[in-house]
């Protein structure tokens, strides 16, 4: 009875705590929704929910009085509304990147954080989706954005990038929701089977769709998951590319650049990872899931932030270079104005948060320090908000004729709307943590060493499925051998 160690890649270390068993994974994740909510959850929930109430007030005032309650003016027709839209949708992108792109690349470490990140995607896209509806001013005409027959017999203009955006964002929301739900089906079954009360069992049974872990089901399920990942990957790239087309296809200096699609996608992933990090560090500390979400996961996320942060820094530099190299006076003026004009403070906040902050992650000590990564993730969230603000407001506020120049100042309603969407996001997120398994139970189990059918006892008389490894070879991986 020798032990057989699963084949591992060179230098690979266990993803989750090697001593954890399947039952412990189930227990650890399910208990969060089975036990009473900690007092901190209630405080956080009431706090977030009251901000959601502020959103209701801000939106009510907006609908009653019109967009004049915002600080938008001529020439700054787009300001916080579109800044927040792009910021939120960008945050969503990390969730899809973790769930789809890393899945296709077989990055198994994603299993500990993908559920969490996908939930973040869905709530962030909900927040983003509010703004296009709100900024049209008369929200009761928002259905004009969709190709629905209306009383004016008019159809939308499909040549407009704003129209592409409607399709991109609504497709993105639908597909993210489907992807998230498909991943949740087996975990809802777990909660159903553990349920102690009838009502709890009934609710989870409803969402589990009668899942019975059948291998004939798993086969189609896994194929569906693969197909959804394969579609989500180009989708996530297309969504932020289309968002950048809102700007890039216009003729405004500072917007009309071909670097926008890749630059926006890199920025989106960057800000999204920062948001996942902020939320994950808090949840990990509160709910004690440190054995599943390990320092290795956090370090890998920091590496991605370093990469995408540097890509964004490169894009900032390249924009300036092209402004100079093109020889276009308007373009050059816009960029000089960004760095030295009335909004210089926003520009330099952006540079210090987005370009300088992630550079600390070159050092392993910084990558593995929780306080450092927490502060850095907050700074990056702020920096990425300023990036969108800088792109939108500084390009608009001084346009072609100096007589029409202006300066944008947000009103209290702008601030309330933004704080309100933050409140909505956190309210939804807290409800998610409370009622839905926040870690993909089935997926994490599949990455445990004991999930390998070749692991454990070598069954006598069956050579077909076993490697002829000698137990002595297991020595370097002693931590993976059960019972030690």
């Amino acid at each position: 009875m020798g032990y057989i160690v699963p084949i591992k890649e060179l230098g690979e270390s266990p993803l989750v705590d090697p001593k954890i068993t399947m039952h412990e994974v189930t227990d650890l994740v399910s208990k969060v929704s089975e036990n009473r909510a900690p007092r901190g959850w209630w405080f956080a929930f009431l706090f977030a929910a009251s901000f959601t109430g502020i959103l209701g007030i801000a939106v009510g005032i907006l609908f009653w009085f019109g967009v004049g309650v915002w600080g938008n003016n001529s020439p700054t027709y787009w300001a916080w509304d579109i800044t927040n839209f792009v910021w939120w949708i960008g945050i969503g992108h990390a969730g899809t990147l973790i769930s789809a792109v890393l899945f296709l690349f077989r990055q198994k470490w994603r299993t500990a954080i993908n559920r969490f990140a996908e939930a973040m995607t869905i709530f962030a896209v909900m927040c983003a989706g509010m703004y296009p509806g709100l900024h049209v001013g008369r929200a009761w005409y928002a259905y004009y954005m969709f190709p629905i027959p209306n009383q004016m017999s008019l159809w939308p203009n499909f040549k407009s990038p704003l129209m592409w955006d409607i399709f991109a964002v609504s497709t993105y929301f639908t597909v993210s929701l489907l992807f998230w739900y498909v991943g949740l089906i087996p975990d809802f079954a777990t909660l159903r089977d553990r349920a102690k009360t009838a009502i709890r069992r009934k609710v989870y049974a409803f969402f589990a769709l009668g899942w019975l872990g059948s291998n004939r089901h798993w086969q189609n399920y896994e194929r569906a998951y693969l197909i959804l990942a394969a579609f989500s990957t180009p989708l996530v790239l297309s969504v932020h590319s289309v968002v950048s087309f809102d700007f890039a296809t216009s003729v405004i200096p500072g917007w009309h650049t071909t670097i926008f699609p890749p630059y926006f996608v890199a920025g989106a992933v960057f800000s999204g990872f920062a948001m996942v990090m902020t939320l994950m560090l808090i949840t990990r500390a509160v709910y004690g899931v440190k054995s599943v979400v390990t320092m290795k996961h956090l370090e890998l996320m920091n590496k991605i932030m370093l990469t995408t942060g540097s890509l964004v820094g490169y894009a900032y530099g390249m924009e300036f270079f092209i402004a100079w190299y093109s020889g276009n006076d308007y373009e050059m003026f816009t960029f000089t104005n960004r760095a030295t004009g009335p909004y210089w403070w926003a520009y330099w906040t952006m540079i210090s948060c987005n370009v300088i902050t992630p550079q600390i992650f070159w050092f392993k000590k910084m990558r593995t320090s929780i306080p450092v990564m927490f502060v850095a993730s907050i700074l990056i969230n702020i920096g990425m908000w300023f990036e969108r603000f800088v792109i939108i407001v500084t390009s608009l506020h001084r346009d072609f004729i100096p007589s029409s120049w202006g300066y944008f100042r947000p009103t209290i309603i702008d601030v309330f709307t933004y704080m309100g969407t933050l409140g909505f996001f956190f309210t939804a997120f807290l409800l998610f943590i409370r009622w839905i398994p926040m870690i993909a139970i089935a997926e994490v189990k599949a990455t445990l060493p004991s999930a390998d059918p070749h692991f454990g006892h070598a069954h006598a008389g069956d050579g077909e499925h076993h490697h002829e490894d000698k137990p002595s070879e297991a020595a370097p991986d002693a931590a993976l051998v059960p019972g030690e």
Binding site: K159, T174, G210, H217, N220, A442, H457, H465
Partner: protein, 193 residues
């Protein structure tokens, strides 16, 4: 321990029941995989494995053919791209021609983003509905849930089930075969007619 657990409460209900399936429990994915192989080699067709996560190599062990889901996705994707193209061509090019920015009312390049998005949208909705259709889900009743121990499938237990309508099913022989796989328990589950 291969001690056989007496069948659950359903056995008591003698009125109008018939055999539904055999259920064998294992505590390791490897043992479950070998049981599936034995059933496949013995010529069983209507049997299944129930595992907390997809066990690597189980499709082969059960002798299953590849999933047909990709074909459903393909059909939905083609529908999506054509529907998107037709919609935009008819709305902007035929029904209400809009000349904007001096561009022709119908212009293919500007339609590509929406055609792409609709391909993705239709394919993904089709994939999920197709997956549920192939799996015959949602299904809120199954005789397998009569077993008390079956709830472990979503935790850390591995099961093999053999349906009574399998041509090779026999109360005695199937039981002997499953017993030879040394499971943690075997149950014969009934269903009401």
């Amino acid at each position: 321990m291969s001690a056989e657990k007496p069948t659950s409460s359903t056995a008591a209900k003698t009125a109008m029941t018939r055999n539904a399936l055999y259920l064998a429990e294992f505590s390791e994915p490897g043992a479950c995989l070998h049981a599936a192989e034995k059933l496949r080699d013995a010529g069983y067709k209507n049997f299944d494995a129930h595992t907390p996560f997809p066990v690597h190599g189980m499709d082969k062990a059960m002798g299953m053919s590849d999933s047909k889901l990709g074909w459903i996705t393909l059909a939905c994707g083609i529908t999506g791209v054509s529907a998107g193209w037709l919609m935009m061509w008819w709305m902007n090019g035929v029904d209400y021609a809009l000349v904007i920015g001096g561009k022709p009312p119908y212009s293919l390049p500007s339609q590509i983003p929406i055609m792409f998005e609709l391909t993705v949208l239709f394919s993904c909705i089709g994939t999920v509905i197709g997956m549920l259709h192939l799996n015959k889900l949602p299904r809120h009743h199954h005789p397998i849930f009569e077993s008390d121990r079956f709830a472990g499938f979503s935790d850390d237990k591995f099961f093999v089930s053999v349906a009574a309508d399998d041509p090779k099913f026999s109360v005695e022989k199937t039981k002997a075969l499953l017993k030879a796989c040394s499971p943690d328990g075997i149950e014969l589950l009934k269903e009401e007619i």
